[in-house]
Subunit: 222 residues, 2 copies
Amino acid sequence: MSAGKHKLLQPDPADVPKAVVSRLSLYLRELQRLSQHGKNTVSSSQLGRLLGFTDAQVRKDLACFGHFGQPGIGYRCDELVGVIRRILGTDRTWTVALLGVGNLGRALLGYKGFAAKGFQFVAAFDSDPRKADGVIDGVRVHPMDQLSELVHRQRIQLAMLSVPAAAAQSVAELAIAAGVVGIVNFAPVTLSLPEHVSLVGVDLATELEQIAFSVANRTNPR
Amino acid sequence: MSAGKHKLLQPDPADVPKAVVSRLSLYLRELQRLSQHGKNTVSSSQLGRLLGFTDAQVRKDLACFGHFGQPGIGYRCDELVGVIRRILGTDRTWTVALLGVGNLGRALLGYKGFAAKGFQFVAAFDSDPRKADGVIDGVRVHPMDQLSELVHRQRIQLAMLSVPAAAAQSVAELAIAAGVVGIVNFAPVTLSLPEHVSLVGVDLATELEQIAFSVANRTNPR
DNA sequence: CCGTGTGAAATCGTTCACAGCC
DNA sequence: GGCTGTGAACGATTTCACACGG
């Protein structure tokens, strides 16, 4: 592999705190914005201020992966965009299946942000036969019982799971058996899956509960 | 304060780690499920196993707020449901506005999970006049320029923000000026808001990036 | 002088291990 | 015997502070 100007360390992933990875996504988002606005370089303190982190935090996070900054100058925005995408693995395209074509599922299919980040829906599935065999936002909807075959045949790597809570565990297991290695779960249940599968859960009601708590327990109520 | 059987501590909210609060939501979700399945009590180790935490973690988390368990028995599911709802502030209803009626916004309006947890959409807003003045899932859609007046008049407390990234900061500021005190932000930008406003950000593409990273950096690739 | 990279210190969160209670 | 509540030990992450480079 032809190296860039600056070396890219490849630390044991277990050494990288999960919190660092989630900030990486935020750095990337902000850097792309800065880059588009014509900014050439940022310092750790500028980037930190924009995102609500300290400058030391920004530097430590980036230093996990190599030496990308120039003393006295800062970081080159476009270079760092490339570096972070390579670290996150989004410098290539990922194939994604949508599991469960309800309200939320349809919204996910139509969400423009995924393609821009390298995630491509290649198939959708629903167990309601009336929904199957249509096309939504350019993506074919298949009956759920073809999941196994199509995931396998189309080499689908990731899945977004937006089926009802009661079905989530078994649909997830089917997807995994067919070769899916990462799942974003929108169903309001905790899935129990093999170690080797990457999983993040997004529970919309739970997000509101977090807000409710901090409002309800405000030290300085209005 | 009229106490129940067991005292409910009210610690300085600043003393409660954010991680504890987010686990509280998961405990609640699981306890409601257990309760519905007719289970009377759970031990910390059972609850932990179901959610992927240690037993000590469960006990420590709950002990932040009082003494709810019975040695030798465990925790009473339905009692604990009530306690956690009181802690989270979801033992009463919250009024919520939906800001931005795109694909995602419509899905949020139709999401059943919110009402069940005590969150009620009372109005939606969109700056596209063609979308305004309709009714979606029983919620009236208003033009964005009525946001200020209606949030104020209807005493709307929280907002879910699903407008395009470019509009998010200014729409959020409008909502806050009108009295909203908590926001769940789905737009892929970091908002800069006054201290006294509670904010959580949900970036759907970012969630996929987390998965991509852990798959791409798997120690044991398939 | 400005700004990075990085050990050392401080802080925060989790797990251990056990006393006490049912 | 089973299980909670909790101080103490541990581990992880964040912040500090400074040496070094453009």
